[in-house]
Symmetry: C2
């Protein structure tokens, strides 16, 4: 039987701690050359009404778990002009106003499709789990103060993940621009972990004095500045654009999720070769294009830093004690979905959760 | 509803002529920059018992049909040593001794998954249809004699496809090493098309004097030699290795299916970057590796020839009248599966054929 699950079921099946542990051994395998990825690619359809249909895929193979997976997204992205600049929104174009993101999990032993599951819950957990593993390997062992910039779903996931790898954290300072939002998350985290959680009035107030600084925002401009940081701080982010000038350059160690840090874009009308520096605002009307976001020049070349696999197996020069370190969670890897997808499948199968499709529907007796 | 079909159902739904016509307009779109591909990639698992698990994917987008697709194969390949050399066999490792090759079709309008169907029938038809389109654009318009090298399922498909684009063919000469096999196909084709079909005693006898020479074999050594060919012959093949020395060099026009003619191989243990010249026998025991097949040096660089899209829109120098031309069907494109998959879906939906899965099982209300 090929298993189908919902995001809600997946959320009940796996804990953040299990996801972190699963990715930890998987990144060890990656660092040891015992796991593999096919990096993300995006095909961009024609530009219509400020929007493009985008078909995104990434593949991964986790031999330890006898699992291969593809994660795919079938979305229309619309570029909306807002007072704050251009906002890129994934449209819920599916029937009933839903999104389409799927993970297909295959057995490396039999080749058969084991599961077809949505990507939302795993997506949210794997980003936080990966930042937490960066902190596990790079942050000082005993830290007590954690500044969390952002108060959305991803920020909440980051807090849960960081507390798993650094249970020594005694204080969290949450900042996001809307007071009600930061106060709500602060209250939630305080109740969940029984530690001091402050809703900070500014990013600077949250960051000053913190041992660990985590950015988990949708911002495409810096949310943290170098001069606010402690000399021993570990900084972690969900995208490079969140970091102020000089942070990467001043860090004694910068690690990335993957050095292949940009998707290969195949754009209708742009020929057969992939484009790695695709301006997402391409095709926008002129008045919109003028305000478009451009990626800043890096002071540090992310494609030459150590990656999460090397971090996991310790293949790097340990930074000097009490020096600043930074982890940049570059783009996702299919391997994450093979690792976590197979965990979900194992647990769902053991517990009898989910809906079944006859696997025979997906097999063929004709040589492909 | 998301549609599921079998190869048999697909075979009844679409004709070779429809597949050729569908690919023809799709290749026009490709040539005009109105369709797009993400080229094939293969992830190779660890080498065990002369075999590797391989996860192969390719994506394509056909805006004319509002369709995006991924085609994937989840296979174990075994390298067997035979008296004739190394034979690469896809193992039917799935439950019931079956293979796993799937096409997932998505709507570019709603993003939803329209169909999940096996790849076998479409795979077999699209190879033949593509060679036929090469002949449509490159072969002399009025040809009467067709040499067909090979007598398997693909050879039969090639004959059907060629007769669709060149109904002027009055004689087919079939050669394959086993007399019974070539005689069987010759009898079948004669009955099907009511034309003269000869089972030739040698490849040379089949080829001498032929206007059109089609190779559709599993051979990894040449099956046709330059000196057998007429000066005006159009030569077509399912892989470059079938062509004798000098054929590409002597052709006044060489066209390829895609210039991106080798898959990107991501091999466990070989780092994060793709390998384009992966020796498939890599990892074989020494006695086997010694007899391994190496790809010959090209006299003509296939990555610099015109491709099927340029052929379809006429963006090439017409070859001199009565000069030799060659079409090399390099690796597959995801675009083929988007084009033919959407044709299959349209026809199956109109006729009420197939099994349904609730599409809602594959949608999510959580932002991915």
């Amino acid at each position: 039987m090929t298993l189908v699950l919902s995001n809600e079921e997946i959320g009940h099946l796996i804990s953040m701690g299990e996801v972190i542990d699963r990715l930890d051994v998987t990144y060890h395998d990656l660092g040891n050359g015992e796991a593999q990825n096919r990096p993300r690619s995006d095909i961009y359809g024609p530009f219509r009404d400020n929007a493009r249909y985008i078909f995104k895929t990434m593949d991964g193979m986790a031999p330890r778990f006898e699992a291969a997976a593809i994660r795919l997204n079938s979305d229309t992205i619309r570029w909306n002009v807002t007072p704050a600049g251009i906002r890129k929104d994934k449209q819920p174009t599916g029937p009933g106003g839903k999104w389409i993101g799927l993970i297909l999990l295959f057995s490396m032993r039999t080749g058969e499709p084991l599961a077809i599951i949505p990507d939302g819950m795993i997506q949210s957990m794997r980003v936080a789990a990966t930042n937490a593993l960066g902190a596990k390997y790079m942050a000082p062992e005993y830290i007590s103060t954690y500044a969390l910039l952002g108060a959305g779903q991803q920020a909440a996931a980051q807090a849960r993940a960081m507390l798993h790898v650094r249970p020594s954290i005694k204080e969290i300072r949450v900042f996001s621009p809307t007071p009600a939002t930061r106060e709500k998350l602060a209250a939630e985290l305080a109740a969940e972990f029984g530690i001091k959680v402050i809703a900070a009035e500014s990013a600077e107030k949250a960051v000053r004095g913190a041992d660990l600084v985590g950015c988990a925002t949708n911002s495409i401009t810096p949310v943290v500045q170098l001069e606010w940081l402690e000399p021993h701080a570990h900084v972690t982010c969900v995208k490079e654009l969140e970091l102020g000038p000089g942070i990467l350059g001043r860090s004694s160690l910068v690690a990335v999720h993957t050095r292949l840090d940009r998707p290969a874009n195949y754009i209708v009308g742009e020929g057969e070769n992939p484009i790695y520096d695709h301006d997402p605002a391409q095709g926008l009307p002129e008045e919109v294009a003028r305000t478009r976001i451009t990626r800043p020049e890096n002071e540090v070349d992310l494609t030459r830093q150590i990656d999460i696999g090397e971090l996991a197996v310790g293949r790097f020069q340990k930074p000097p004690h009490s020096s600043m370190t930074t982890f940049v969670n570059t783009i996702g890897m299919g391997l994450q979905f093979a690792a976590i997808g197979s965990l979900v499948w194992e647990k769902a199968t053991a517990q009898g959760i989910g809906r079944d499709i006859p696997t025979d529907w997906f097999l063929e007796d004709m040589h492909p």
